[in-house]
């Protein structure tokens, strides 16, 4: 399992996390250590709560009025759900890329600059834009049309723009919610390559239902499944990706990764 004793290598920790929507418990009792500068993948069948769990890491669930959370998310020794923690700042530190590319209806430049600006960025904006676009491997494609609308790009480009936008506010952790599900295979490949590059500076948590993607591009994998009795998601197994895909400890895991259900 993960090297949980070495706290410097842990970027964020989930401790006994349960998330409720109204009376319904979407995920229950998750315990998980996310390793620094590694890619951690959440896999599992539809409806098992992997996206819900992901959103718990930067308090995006707060935006859903009926949601409620038990347990702790520990980041730098601080529970993110403590009363004195500001969700706005949490989201700056723990950025997010969404399933469907969602650039702002502004220029490509503004898409990058906006987040930086509202977060009080003081450096040279042009440099930041270029640097972010480069680190999202899209600079060469857009450098001549920075003033065009972000919506004019193709789906894969849009998604990389969104990643660039996230990178620009210098988060420590990037959450990716099925970032490739709306993209074609070539664009998907590009995003996967990008993730490998970003890994050097960022900790990445990715939700995917594409097992090959998890196997190819993640260091650790958590398999979540739905409890048949109360329909809540729970974590079946969490281990290094190579270990999980070669030697699953749990029979459900084995059945899932060999494609017998899901």
């Amino acid at each position: 399992m993960s090297d949980s004793n070495d706290s410097t290598n842990i970027a964020v920790q989930a401790k006994d996390v349960s998330v409720y929507y109204g009376d319904f418990r979407a995920v229950k009792n998750i315990n998980l250590d996310v390793a620094r500068n590694k890619i951690t993948a959440f896999i599992g069948p539809s409806g098992c709560g992997k996206s819900t769990l992901l959103r718990a890491f930067n308090r995006m669930n707060d935006l859903i009025p009926i949601s409620r959370m038990d347990g702790e998310i520990v980041y730098r020794g601080k529970n993110l759900y403590d009363a004195d923690v500001d969700p706005v700042e949490v989201r700056r530190r723990i950025g997010m890329v969404f399933q469907k590319p969602n650039p702002f209806p502004k220029s490509i430049y503004e898409n990058i600059a906006w987040g930086a600006r509202i977060n009080g960025y003081k450096g040279n904006m042009d440099e930041l834009v270029e640097e972010s676009l480069r680190s999202a491997a899209i600079w060469d494609e857009v450098k001549d049309k920075l003033d065009q609308s972000g919506l004019s790009l193709s789906g894969g480009q849009q998604q990389r723009l969104c990643i660039a936008r996230t990178v620009a506010v210098k988060p420590e952790i990037i959450l990716m919610d099925e970032p490739c599900s709306a993209l074609d295979p070539i664009a998907t490949l590009k995003i996967e390559e990008l993730m490998r590059q970003l890994q050097e500076q960022y900790t990445i948590i990715i939700v995917t239902h594409n097992m090959q993607q998890a196997a190819r591009s993640s260091d650790y994998t958590a398999f979540l499944n739905m409890d048949t009795t109360d329909r809540s998601g729970y974590m079946v197994e969490f281990s290094e990706t190579s270990a999980m895909f070669t030697n699953p400890q749990n029979q459900q895991t084995e059945e899932y990764i060999t494609g017998r259900f899901g």
């Binding site: 987040g115 509202i118 506010v169």
Partner: protein, 404 residues
């Protein structure tokens, strides 16, 4: 589809015949009637345009007779075509139509004080006229004056529409100052902040506000807003009828319109944009004002344009509270003494709609100059509001394409 067992009817013979296309009179008739219903709406528009144009044309081509202060010097019989006039008054020129009593004449030649005329033109009766009868000369409503003049008194041959237009604009501006910020701000609150519960309470209240007849708002302006402004701010400086009070109340009346149209536009912005914004660490306010609002800008703009059109066409509030009688002025006053022009919101001034209501509410005889003139005003009003509505719909149409 599984058919029920075939009845033992011999179909073979009639099938070909029965499948042949038949004219179903019944159906055609009904369809015709339905088409007629649809076309009626087109005729309504055509009707509006035709009658407004028609009466406006009569307004602009109408001959109005102006007193010349000149009268005939001697008695003239039915056969006389040349006669002397008094020296006083304005000069007459060849080709001018003049009126003496009920008879119309065309001036053929002018020689000093003596006029040579063609008698009884335009089918008027040639009659005997005694000395000292007044000569009136015909003038056309000057097209230029209508759109540049600053005095509107058709019966006194003053045809400048600006006093009416200016006060209409004045009231529209005041109402927009009230309605746009309040309407937009409440739309933002409803769309971005309010819980479903709040929305379910507040939206019906706004609907109620929108459903209150405008004459009730007029009553409100006159019996509440004006006394309130008088007591709270202006004292004796504000007149009983004034454009400020009317403008504020028109603004209030438009708030629900602005608010509901803007809210629709804000609501149509996809949730994913908001998520993206929050994901970058934006606050609710930053998301609402700098992501959602710009994304909904065209819809909000369309709401604003419709609101302006509504304010310009609003009638009863101004008819009750803004005052009766156009506030005529001189252009020079606009810069030197604007207090005496319609630009002073504390004084009474009549708007285009208010004028139409007052004139048509009185004893109005068809073919009078007043009757024609209100149609000319109506035409201007119609064109302004139509243009605004078309602009608004264009904006909305463009806006829809973005997210589809």
């Amino acid at each position: 589809m599984i058919n029920s067992p075939v009845h033992d009817i011999d179909l073979t013979e009639d099938v070909a015949l029965s499948l042949r296309k038949k004219t179903k009179w019944h159906e055609t008739l009904i369809q015709g009637a339905l088409v007629a219903c649809g076309i009626l709406s087109v005729f309504t528009t055509i009707g509006i345009v035709v009658i407004l144009l028609n009466e406006s044309i009569s307004f602009f081509t109408r001959e109005v007779f102006e007193i010349t202060n000149k009268s005939i010097a001697t008695d003239i019989g039915p056969a006389d075509t040349t006669f002397e006039t008094t020296a006083s008054g304005s000069t007459l020129v060849v080709g001018q139509i003049v009126r003496v009593d009920d008879e119309l004449m065309e001036v053929l030649a002018v020689d000093g004080l003596s006029l040579t005329v063609e008698r009884g033109i335009q089918g008027t009766e040639v009659s005997f006229h005694t000395a000292d009868e007044e000569i009136e000369k015909s003038v056309r409503v000057p097209f230029r004056e209508v759109f540049t003049g600053s005095r509107w008194q058709p019966r006194l041959q003053q045809f400048g529409m600006w006093p009416l237009i200016l006060s209409t604009l004045m009231i529209s501006v005041i109402s927009m100052i009230v309605a746009l910020p309040l309407g937009l701000a409440s739309a933002i609150y409803l769309s971005e902040y309010a819980s479903n519960r709040t929305r379910s309470i507040v939206k019906p209240i706004l609907e109620v506000l929108a459903g209150i007849p405008t004459v009730v708002y007029g009553y409100f302006a006159l019996t509440f807003m004006t006394p309130f402004l008088e007591r709270a701010f202006f004292g004796d400086n504000i007149q009983v009828f004034n454009t400020l009070s009317a403008g504020i109340v028109v603004g209030v009346l438009i708030i629900p319109l602005v608010s509901s149209m803007s809210e629709d536009a804000l609501h149509a912005v996809p949730q994913s944009l908001r998520n993206a914004s929050y994901g970058l660490g934006a606050t609710k306010l930053e998301t609402a004002l700098r992501v959602v609002l710009p994304a909904a800008l065209s819809g909000v703009t369309a709401a604003f344009v419709v609101a302006i059109s509504r304010a310009i066409g609003e009638t009863m509030v101004v008819a009750v509270a803004a005052g009766a009688g156009p506030r005529n002025f001189e252009w020079s006053q606009v810069f030197t003494n604007y207090g005496e022009t319609p630009l002073n919101p504390l004084q009474s001034a009549e708007t285009m709609t208010g004028h139409i209501v007052r004139i048509s509410g009185g004893d109005l005889s068809y073919n009078s100059i007043d009757y024609n003139s209100i149609f000319a005003i109506g035409l201007v009003l119609f064109l302004i509001t139509l243009t605004l509505n078309i602009i608004s719909r264009r904006i909305v149409e463009r806006f829809r394409e973005v997210y589809d």
